[in-house]
């Protein structure tokens, strides 16, 4: 079985250094990149499925600046087989429409049974690229997965989709595209052996020309949305510190709740 996992390098949410350049793009120099959190959950699931199947490949598909291999190595160290990186000077500043189009085109060059993506990425959190890729490529789309169970013999896949009331169990023929959540399970830490092995794993670089994509249709030039302002959020008011005994502390909490009409 072959599983393609869409992975995105994102600024490390714990770094605190995220800021935008004057043209609205992320200042990547100011915040180290990590593999997007939700992508790690689907990657873990893909690795487990391949391990259970006994053979197969997990292929990372990433669209990012040419610094991305560093971040992709971490996902390769977890156990992914190889990586495909779509990179081009023209993709800088691409919006979700361009990202969707580029990933959909790159996916068409790969053979796979399943495509996994995290439900969203921690930088923009739009959560719209996975359904867009499915729509452009005519793939069955199963989203917000809490579990993924492929049946290779029957060529179908079952997904428990998280809903407001519980779960919808979805079933589709393979190939299909699935977006997954943290409910899939904790990602593994790369082993030392995995880290060593990742150094020699293949990362293929693909350009826009390779995908027959007009450079003018992506990046800042092709953007359908534009950032008009960016600022730090207003600081919250001062914190009241209460050190009194529980009964008095509780009275102070209730007083604040009453003052703000919350009770």
């Amino acid at each position: 079985m072959r599983i393609v996992v869409l992975t995105k390098p994102v600024p490390d949410p714990a770094s605190g250094g995220e800021r935008l350049l004057p043209d609205g793009r992320l200042d990547r120099a100011n915040s180290p990149a990590v593999v997007n959190g939700n992508d790690e959950y689907v990657l873990e699931k893909a690795l487990k499925l391949i391990e259970a199947a006994g053979d197969g490949e997990v292929i990372l598909l990433t669209m990012a600046p040419d610094s991305a291999p560093e971040t992709m190595r971490k996902a390769l160290a977890m156990g992914a087989t190889r990586g495909v990186l779509v990179t081009d000077p023209q993709i800088a500043g691409s919006d979700t429409v361009a990202t969707t189009r580029v990933l959909a085109a790159a996916l068409k060059t790969l053979e796979f049974d399943l495509v996994f993506a995290g439900v969203d990425t921690s930088d923009g959190t739009a959560g719209v690229v996975a359904p867009g890729v499915a729509a452009l490529n005519g793939l069955p789309y199963l989203s917000y997965a809490a579990s993924i169970d492929p049946d290779e013999g029957a060529r179908t896949v079952r997904v428990k989709r998280i809903t407001a009331d519980g779960y919808d169990v979805l079933e589709a023929p393979m190939p299909a595209l699935i977006s997954g959540t943290q409910a899939l399970g904790e990602p593994r830490y790369p082993s030392l052996k995995g880290i060593m092995a990742a150094r020699s794993k293949e990362i293929t670089t693909v350009s826009l020309a390779d995908l027959d994509i007009d450079p003018g249709s992506v990046g800042l030039d092709g953007a359908t949305t534009k950032v008009v302002d960016s600022r730090r959020p207003e600081a919250r008011g001062a914190t009241t510190v209460v050190r009194e005994a529980p009964d008095e502390a509780a009275r102070q909490i209730v007083a604040l709740l009453a003052e703000r009409r919350l009770i």
Partner: protein, 326 residues
């Protein structure tokens, strides 16, 4: 401008989601700022009459589109295709939807089908110089950005609890509309529907959330969190640490890989306030924390922090709240 559309999302019980009433309320305000642009609701589903009627309480006109397929198939991709066809026929400029799971699925597929851009997770939207400008909280709330459409047309997804839903002064009309033709995208059958293991109140659009973290100590500790939530009329939330420990289901997790919430009150019990949790709740109007550690990160952004044992303070608070309501 030729109009703003509001996608009316249908809940599991067949009614209109609260989020859609918020989106509709916001759309009316934007339309007014744009000089009286038309606002139209669109409800697509196997039984659209009731939710369309509800949406008509918020906007002047609603298109009710009967689409039998959504009764037993994943709805997002189907709704997006019907919307794309309706857009071609009616030519609106803006489609607004909720930034929940269904709205994101619809927005993503619709964006791919139309080539329209998406202003995602708007916490506010205003009309300015003929087009909408959305406010977003990005990078886990470290930055506020404002953005608009480069070409005039596009899709906006709106975060839950961004506005208080307010019905329009007079009810609107419901018109039946049709969007037929073969669905081009594969349909995905729902082969079973499973109820959640525990029937916890939803945190997505809760006005009050009482959240427990590692400090709660175990599944039993969440009993007190639940009692506090009940006393305040709120829902129970949790940190990833509590979810990973199996004390409470993932559906209640708040933070980077859980849900992003914006309640009026966030009562954080034994929650340290690590960045991965903070990104999910920092826009709460009032944040009150109870924590043993005066140096916990949450002390930096809570309105009030009580330094103490969460069981002792929690029980005292429970007694105080019960005395008040009793």
């Amino acid at each position: 401008m030729a109009g703003i559309w509001v996608h009316g999302e249908i809940a599991g019980d067949g009614s209109l989601t609260k989020l859609s009433t918020e989106v509709a309320t916001l759309a009316r305000a934007v339309a007014e700022q744009l000089g009286g642009t038309e606002v139209t609701g669109v409800v697509i589903g196997s039984d659209p009459a009731a939710p369309a009627g509800e949406l008509a309480g918020f906007v002047p006109k609603v298109l009710a589109v009967t689409e039998p397929t959504t009764a037993d198939h994943a709805a997002g991709m189907i709704v997006a295709q019907r919307l794309a066809a309706l857009i071609e026929a009616h030519d609106p400029d803006i489609v607004m939807t909720g930034a929940g799971p269904e709205g994101r699925d619809v927005a993503g597929a619709l964006s791919a089908l139309t080539g329209w851009g998406v202003l995602a997770n708007a916490t506010a939207v205003r009309g300015e110089d003929g087009s909408p400008v959305a406010t977003h909280s990005v990078f886990g709330g470290k930055l506020i950005t404002e953005s608009g459409f480069a070409g005039g047309k596009g899709i906006v997804t709106v975060r839950p609890n961004s506005v208080t839903p307010e019905p329009a002064g007079s009810a609107g009309t419901v018109e039946e509309a049709t969007a037929t033709g073969e669905l081009q995208q594969p349909v995905v059958p729902v082969v079973d529907r499973l109820e959640a293991e525990t029937k916890a109140a939803q945190i997505d659009d809760a006005r009050i959330i009482v959240a427990g973290g590692r400090g709660v100590g175990g599944p039993d500790g969440f009993g007190l969190i639940q009692e506090l939530a009940d006393a305040l009329g709120g829902a129970v939330g949790a940190t990833r640490a509590a979810v990973d420990s199996g004390w409470i289901p993932y559906s209640q997790q708040i933070g980077q890989t859980g849900k992003i919430v914006k309640p009026q009150l966030y009562l954080a019990m034994g929650v340290s306030g690590a960045i991965q949790h903070k990104v999910g709740m920092q826009t709460a109007s009032t944040i009150i924390a109870v924590n043993r550690d005066p140096d916990a990160p949450i002390a930096e952004f809570a309105d009030m922090i009580v330094i103490g044992d969460l069981v002792e303070v929690g029980n005292a608070l429970l007694a105080e709240l019960r005395a008040r309501s009793g």
